[in-house]
């Protein structure tokens, strides 16, 4: 019985993230449009875009290799699995016993690796520029992310997200500077990893300034649809991650009845809506930074996470 329930929750979770991801992006776009005095596209527009792309013919460059064709699916699969590992409305996911936070980072890292390769595969200048920028950003964002995981793991004595979430809800967590630092660092990394303003601009038409868009510039049809969906999933993943670790209230604990998961779903929807709104407000209020400011920006995240970890060692009662 328990196994069936866990399987059901895991399955529901996998489908849920897939179904919700375009909606979240649609929501962010809508709020951004409203903030800039536009009416904005309908909330369901991303779904329509995906459907439209799915039906379109794929135009491949003559010199595209198998990698170019395979990469979208690899990226999508890795991102989807990673997104399914983050507890959204219930903890105690089946898969999360076999894959922890570090596995999530590794999955996203592999997705990025393939995307960067695919960007360079056709040999256009823009793809190369995009890949080189993406790798530069990643080389700084990933260490920061690992540091964040360390500080969380030291606190919760686990890198396993369900355990971390349970710990964060328990009274033993208290007010900790380390957590504030980890949150700050995670927000910075999340903005950079998702290619949002100020690191990248997902809405730009200027090829020379693109990062993520430059890598997928040569993609069309179902390949592009899958890549877009992977990108939507990634945004959802980071938002769920932040929600699960720092605002875990409402998560249905493992082994609870039917009502708790339903409440968890509601809470999750609310968290996403708030997160999406905050992201849109932030994006509207800042300009994009110069490409070479990104190291300084991500350096802040790395430093915050590092300091957070160090603080645990020097503060009384930090580690137990």
């Amino acid at each position: 019985m328990c196994l069936i329930r866990d399987l059901a929750i895991q399955g529901a979770q996998m489908l849920l993230v897939l179904a919700l991801a375009p909606l979240l992006t649609g929501w962010v776009r809508r709020v951004k449009a409203r903030l800039t005095r536009r009416r904005g596209p309908p909330l369901l527009q991303p779904y329509r875009d995906l459907w439209r792309l799915m039906r379109k013919e794929v135009v491949l460059a003559e010199n595209a290799s198998w990698l170019f064709r395979a990469a979208p699916y690899l990226i999508f699969a890795a991102t989807w699995v990673a997104a399914a590992l983050v507890p959204t409305f219930a903890t105690g996911l089946m898969f999360s016993w076999s894959a922890d936070l570090i596995a999530i980072i590794a999955l996203l890292g592999s997705a990025r690796f393939f995307l960067a390769l695919a960007g360079m595969d056709v040999g256009t200048a823009f793809g190369g520029i995009g890949s080189s920028r993406e790798v530069m950003i990643a080389s700084l964002a990933e260490p920061a992310m690992v540091m964040i995981v360390f500080s969380l793991a030291l606190l919760a004595h686990s890198t396993q997200l369900s355990t971390v979430a349970d710990f964060m809800r328990s009274p033993s967590v208290g007010l900790r500077v380390t957590l504030a630092m980890a949150l700050g660092a995670l927000l910075i990394v999340a903005v950079a990893e998702n290619g949002r303003v100020p690191v990248d601009n997902p809405a730009t038409h200027l090829e020379l300034t693109m990062v993520h868009e430059a890598m997928v510039l040569e993609y069309s049809g179902r390949h592009l649809a899958v890549l877009e969906l992977a990108n939507f999933l990634k945004l959802l993943l980071y938002m769920s991650l932040i929600a699960c670790v720092f605002v875990p209230w409402g998560l249905a604990p493992a082994g609870s009845g039917l009502l708790a998961p339903l409440l968890g779903l509601l809470a999750y929807g609310g968290k996403l809506a708030v997160g999406g709104t905050l992201l849109a407000v932030f994006e509207t209020s800042v300009a994009k930074m110069r490409v070479f400011r990104a190291p300084e920006y991500l350096g802040v995240a790395l430093m915050l996470a590092l300091l957070g970890t160090l603080l645990l060692f020097v503060s009384r009662g930090g580690l137990r």
């Binding site: 800039t36 800042v286 300009a287």
Partner: protein
């Protein structure tokens, strides 16, 4: 005696050209003029040809006494000005493409506007000739070094903008060299205008660059009026002044938002976009066309302003006055935006001076030239206004010049609206000098558009037709500076620099 007056005195004066003096000079004086240009004693304002003849428009370094030198070149060759003075190079290449006159010892002999897609060579040369075979591959200027790579951008861009090709040679993110290739929107306006009725030619000039349609129409109208000796009534000048300033206002508002948008700061574009739209709608109410196309015509203005239109204009000026300061504060206080604009895309003042860059590009780099002040024309002779000048020469300075020009335009519009003259808005053609035989009469005019000085020269033919006409966009002297200002910058900063220049493709390609 000023430099231009000295040069004019040494040639055979052509009395038909008004109001600027034109002299037919020999190759010695021509070369001397090139030397003066190279020394900075003269500013190049235009270089254009017609079969067997090449013209050079010049202004003294103190922005006084413009003049035109003409060199007869029956053999189709003339001494290159570009060899001594780089700003003339592209003009000479265009002359070679369009008229077929070849500059001797020219430093650059590649075609410029002609991409061998016109189906004929030298369209303005009477003798014509078919295009000789397919185009040779265009050789971009070389940049050599280790690990350099090229980035080709355009002519088709991802945004809805005009077509132009940019070839970057870069080392990683750093731009080593940028070369633009233009000419994709060549429509042959000058060829179409040759032999056309004045009204049709005026409509063609109005379409040289849609965002500067008032400036082009005004320059064309003033050139025709100078040739015919017609003086438009006071109310026509008043209407023209209003339209010119509203055009400047609308374009600057759009640009301020667009520059910020290229730094992904959408908020500014959203707000200035609303203001620009309000201005355009008020113009539609007042003048019957959002961009006021074909509203300035030779002899006056095509439409008069009724009280309802004036009220709409007053209302929109009030609205911009109210809301613009908030946006200026938003720009000034957004540090992330300032971080992008300050120090980016710097144009050295010496370079702006040498190229005679007009408009915000020149004024942001310390060049105070403003046609409305240097070679004043009505209604500006009766109005109070400032020409903002800055020294920094970066994207930020170009944005601030626009902001300050918005304020000046609002001042000018308020002064104009406060004191409307009465009377007709168009000169009676029967009363003016237009009834005489105008054949051979020449007129030239320089008008301050929002980008800078627009030059129009024309010669009238028999029965009210245009014999030949030349339009020169301010962008001719701004495009080369864009290429220089991004050297050593990073690739990702180019769109920001480009937007801060906002050069015209159509006006340049004609």
């Amino acid at each position: 005696m000023s430099v231009t007056a000295g040069l004019i005195a040494r040639g055979a004066r052509v009395e038909a050209c008004r109001p600027w003096p034109r002299s037919i000079v020999d190759a010695v004086v021509w070369r001397e003029a090139a030397g003066h240009l190279a020394r900075g004693a003269l500013i190049l304002t235009g270089l254009w040809g017609e079969p067997g003849r090449i013209h050079l428009a010049l202004i003294n370094a103190d922005y006084s006494q413009p003049a035109i030198l003409t060199l007869d070149c029956p053999d189709g060759r003339f001494p290159s000005v570009g060899q001594r003075h780089a700003p003339a190079i592209r003009l000479e290449r265009a002359v070679a493409d369009i008229v077929g006159l070849v500059a001797d010892d020219a430093p650059d002999t590649r075609p410029w506007l002609d991409h061998r897609r016109w189906g004929l060579a030298h369209p303005q040369n009477g003798s014509g000739g078919d295009a000789a075979g397919p185009a040779a591959p265009y050789r971009f200027l070389a940049a050599e070094g280790d690990s350099l790579h090229q980035i080709a951008v355009g002519p088709v861009h991802a945004g809805v903008i005009e077509p132009g090709h940019f070839r970057f040679t870069a080392n990683g993110e750093t731009i080593v060299r940028l070369e633009a290739r233009l000419g994709y929107v060549h429509r042959g306006l000058e060829s179409l205008a040759a032999g056309a009725a004045v009204e049709r030619a005026a409509a063609l000039a109005a379409r040289a660059s849609g965002d500067s349609t008032v400036a082009y129409s005004l320059a064309f109208a003033r050139a025709v009026e100078a040739a015919l000796g017609v003086e438009p009534p006071p109310r026509a000048h008043w209407l023209r002044g209003l339209m010119a300033e509203f055009e400047r206002l609308a374009n600057h508002l759009g640009d301020i938002g667009a520059v910020c948008n290229d730094a992904a700061f959408v908020l500014m574009l959203a707000h200035t976009g609303v203001l620009r739209e309000r201005v355009l709608r008020a113009c539609a109410v007042a003048f019957g066309h959002r961009l006021m196309m074909d509203r300035v015509v030779p002899g006056g203005a095509a439409v008069d302003l009724d009280p309802a239109g004036a009220a709409a204009l007053r209302a929109v000026v009030g609205e911009v006055r109210r809301r613009f300061p908030v946006l200026v504060a938003l720009y000034d206080e957004t540090t992330s935006l300032q971080d992008r604009t300050v120090g980016t895309g710097r144009v050295a003042p010496a370079l702006a001076r040498a190229f005679g860059a007009g408009g915000f590009v020149g004024r942001a780099s310390g060049r105070a030239f403003d046609t409305r002040r240097a070679l004043p024309y009505r209604p500006y002779t009766m109005l109070e206004f400032e020409t903002p000048v800055r020294e920094a020469g970066d994207v930020d300075a170009r944005l601030w010049i626009r902001i300050e020009e918005v304020r000046e335009s609002l001042n000018l519009i308020e002064q104009l609206l406060a004191d409307p003259p009465t009377g007709p808005c168009r000169a009676d053609p029967a009363a003016g000098g237009g009834t005489g035989d105008a054949k051979g009469a020449e007129g030239v005019a320089l008008v301050e558009g929002f980008r800078g000085d627009v030059l129009v020269w024309l010669r009238l033919g028999a029965d009210g037709r245009v014999d030949r006409c030349h339009l020169r966009d301010p962008s001719w002297f701004q495009w080369p500076l864009l290429e220089v200002c991004v050297e050593g910058a990073i690739v990702a900063d180019f769109p920001l620099c480009n937007k801060s220049f906002n050069c015209s493709y159509a006006g340049h390609d004609l």
